[in-house]
Symmetry: C2
Subunit: 97 residues, 2 copies
């Protein structure tokens, strides 16, 4: 039996600033395939290197590189990032320590 090495995942927080509605709708659709919607203009989730590359490639076909901005913060392990919320939690997804 071939024990393949578990594919390592990195934790990402994506924050986007996309002003044009059509581009925004397409970008949201793409993000949802890979990450969890957290609140307006923020997604989070664990991705393999392959998944991250695919997501970036798809977004680069959608956004206007002179007007739109997408920032990916990433940490090798989710345990390196804590999370505190004030106000409502718009989408309860990940368990944070």
């Amino acid at each position: 039996m071939n024990h393949t090495e578990p594919v390592s995942k990195v934790f990402y927080i994506a924050v986007y600033d996309i002003t044009q509605p059509k581009r925004l709708a397409k970008a949201l659709k793409t993000f949802r395939k890979y990450m969890n919607w957290v609140q307006n203009s923020a997604f989070e989730g664990e991705l393999t290197a392959r998944q991250f590359q695919d997501l970036k490639d798809e977004l680069l076909k959608i956004i206007n590189k002179e007007k739109d901005s997408v920032i990916f913060y990433h940490a090798e392990e989710q345990k390196h990032i804590g999370k505190k919320i004030i106000g409502i939690e718009k989408n309860e997804i990940t368990q944070f320590y």
Copy 2:
């Protein structure tokens, strides 16, 4: 000469979802006192425990806790968080590794 212990700082990323314009304007004004504007609905910066508490207290007087959401992601050290940008960088502030 009294060598006071250097106050430790934690790196924060703040993402906010505040729909009502007046509350949003007040929240932005407050955020700017403590953190760096990164792009629409995102700030980042290093804060002491005291600064973080003050920022939270001020925001809690501004936001509507049933409608608005502010998420603080935090990492003990900035080196635990990397940053990748696609599209334009709306505000060049921090040096990331």
